[in-house]
Amino acid sequence: MSYPTDRKYTKEHEWIQVNGNSATVGITDYAQESLGDIVFVETPKVGAEVTAGKTFGTVESVKAVSDLFAPASGTVTEVNGELATSPEKVNKDAHGSWMVKLTLKNPSELDGLLSAADYEKFVAEEAGH
C-alpha cells in the first residue's frame, strides 16, 4: 500500500491533512487492517480541546478498544457523524474516512510527524517484513 502524500502520519497510525490553519484527522489503512471490523468510533464533541500525543477518542473492533491519539493540538470544529451509524466505512476506505476536523493551535507540531515514505517504512518494520 502506498500512502497518500497529501498528509502526514503518526506512529500511532493516525493521518493528518492540513489546509492552512485547519486539519482533518483519521486513521491509516494499516490501522484499520490491524483492528479488523470496526464497530464503534468515539470522538470528542465540537469545541473540545485536543492535545498532541494525548488520546482524544476510541475506535472499537469486535474484540478490542483502541485509543485515538491526537496528531496535533487544537480545537475540534467538526465531527464525522457518518461514522456513528456506519463505522465500517473506516475499514472500506480509511484514508477517505475522516474522523475530526481541527483548528490547529500550533502548526509547527506537524514538523515532527512522518511523511508518507517514512510512515511506509515504519509500517513495514512493524509488520516484520
Binding site: G36, D37, F40, T58, E60, V62, K63, V65, A84
Partner: protein, 358 residues
C-alpha cells in the same frame, strides 16, 4: 495469532480469504464454520465403577445417559463453585469421556484423578491424543456427511456416533458445540499430517456451503449470543451454580456429589447475586470487567462478558448483579471509560437457533 492458555491460536482468519470475526460469525449462523478446538482437554474414565466416579465429581446426572449420549455438566469444588464446565459423553457401558477447557486441562485432570481414587476405574488424560475439529452451523451436518459413512441424520443433538471420516476408522463424532447452532465436533488422531489433511479436506468439502475457518473471536461472539458460559467469566471458583443460573444441569436429587452440601446451604441462605443478560440502550459497548452501576452511580455488579453481537446487531453483555436488580426490563448503567451508559436486562439466551424439521 494470540497466546490462549498456552496455545497459539488465531483470533480471526484473514480478510483476504473472506474471513474476519463478523464474516466467520455469520457463516456459522447461516451456513457452516470450522474451528480447530484441539486446545480443549479430554479425560476418559473407564472401568466397572466409571459411572459412580462420574456421578461423584459431576453435578448433572450421568445415570440418565444412554450409550452414545452426552450432557452438559460441571465439576464443582466442595464449596459448590466451579472447577470447570464439561461435556460428559457416555461412549460405552462403562466408559465416559469428559471434554474440558484448555485453560483448565491440568487442573481438571488432577482434580478428577484426586477425587475418584476410591472408585474402580481408570482415569486417563487423552488431551494430546486428539485433534478436535468443530464443524458448526445449519449446514454442518451436510458438510460432515460428505466425509463419513456414518448416517448423521440418525444422530440427535447431544448424541455421538463413530464412523470412518476422511478415511480414518472409528472416529468419534459428537453432535455438540459451543456456538448455539447445530453441528458436530470430531476427534481425530493428533499427528500433524493427519490433522492438516483432514482440516483441508473439511474446508474443501465445505466450499459449496460457504464454509470458512473460524477463530477465537467468532467463537466468543457465537457462544455469547447463546449465553454459553466461559470459565473465568460466567463461572469460576468464586461463583456457585445458583448464581450462574445453571440449576437445570445440577441434579440435587442425586445421593451425593462434590459440592452438593454447600449448594444446599447456599440455596437455604438465599442467593444474593444473579447472572443477567444486558442489551445496551445508549451508544457504547459493555466489555468484560466493566462495572455495573446502581441509580446513584455506585458499583453494584460487573460485566462477565460483553461484546458487539454480529448476528443480532446489538451490543450485549452478561453481568452479575444483585438479585433485586435482575428482573427483565430493569434499566441500569454500565461504566464505560468513566461514564454510565444505559443498558437494560433482557431475557437470555439472546439468540436461539431456529427449529429444524428433523
Amino acid at each position: 495469532m494470540v497466546e490462549f492458555n498456552g496455545w497459539d491460536m488465531p483470533v480471526e482468519y484473514p480478510a483476504t480469504i473472506g474471513c474476519g470475526i463478523i464474516n466467520e460469525h455469520m457463516a456459522v449462523r447461516t451456513g457452516v464454520g470450522i474451528f480447530d478446538v484441539s486446545h480443549m482437554g479430554d479425560i476418559r474414565l473407564a472401568g466397572p465403577q466409571a459411572l459412580a466416579a462420574v456421578q461423584h465429581i459431576s453435578m448433572n446426572d450421568a445415570s440418565r445417559l444412554s450409550i452414545g449420549q452426552a450432557q452438559y455438566s460441571a465439576l464443582l469444588y466442595p464449596e459448590g463453585t466451579f472447577v470447570d464446565d464439561v461435556i460428559v459423553h457416555r461412549l460405552a457401558e462403562d466408559e465416559y469421556l469428559l471434554v474440558i477447557n484448555a485453560g483448565t486441562r491440568e487442573k481438571d485432570f488432577s482434580w478428577v484423578r484426586g477425587n475418584t481414587g476410591q472408585f474402580n476405574c481408570a482415569v486417563e488424560n487423552l488431551s494430546d491424543d486428539y485433534t478436535q475439529i468443530a464443524i458448526q452451523g445449519p449446514k454442518g451436518v451436510n458438510l460432515l456427511q460428505k466425509l463419513t459413512d456414518a448416517d448423521l441424520s440418525a444422530v440427535k443433538f447431544y448424541w455421538v456416533t463413530h464412523g470412518t471420516v476422511c478415511g480414518l476408522k472409528n472416529v468419534l463424532m459428537g453432535r455438540t458445540g459451543y456456538t448455539a447452532e447445530d453441528g458436530f465436533e470430531i476427534y481425530i488422531p493428533s499427528d500433524e499430517e493427519t490433522s492438516a489433511r483432514v482440516w483441508y479436506e473439511i474446508l474443501d468439502a465445505g466450499k459449496e456451503f460457504g464454509a470458512v475457518p473460524c477463530g477465537l473471536g467468532a467463537r466468543n461472539t457465537l457462544r455469547l449470543e447463546g449465553k454459553l458460559p466461559l470459565y473465568g467469566h460466567e463461572i469460576s471458583d468464586t461463583i456457585n451454580v445458583w448464581e450462574a443460573g445453571l440449576d437445570r444441569f445440577c441434579k440435587m436429587e442425586k445421593r451425593e456429589f462434590v459440592g452438593k452440601a454447600a449448594l444446599e446451604k447456599a440455596k437455604a441462605a438465599g442467593v444474593k447475586r444473579t447472572l443477567v443478560g444486558l442489551e445496551m440502550t445508549d451508544r457504547g459497548i459493555a466489555r468484560d470487567g466493566y462495572k455495573v452501576l446502581d441509580s446513584t452511580g455506585g458499583e453494584m455488579g460487573y460485566v462477565t462478558s460483553g461484546s458487539p453481537a454480529p448476528f443480532l446487531k446489538k451490543n450485549i453483555a452478561l453481568a452479575y448483579v444483585p438479585v433485586e436488580s435482575g428482573a427483565i426490563g430493569t434499566g441500569l448503567k454500565v461504566e464505560i471509560r468513566g461514564q454510565g451508559v444505559g443498558a437494560v436486562v433482557v431475557p437470555t439466551p439472546f439468540y436461539k437457533r431456529p427449529k429444524k424439521s428433523s
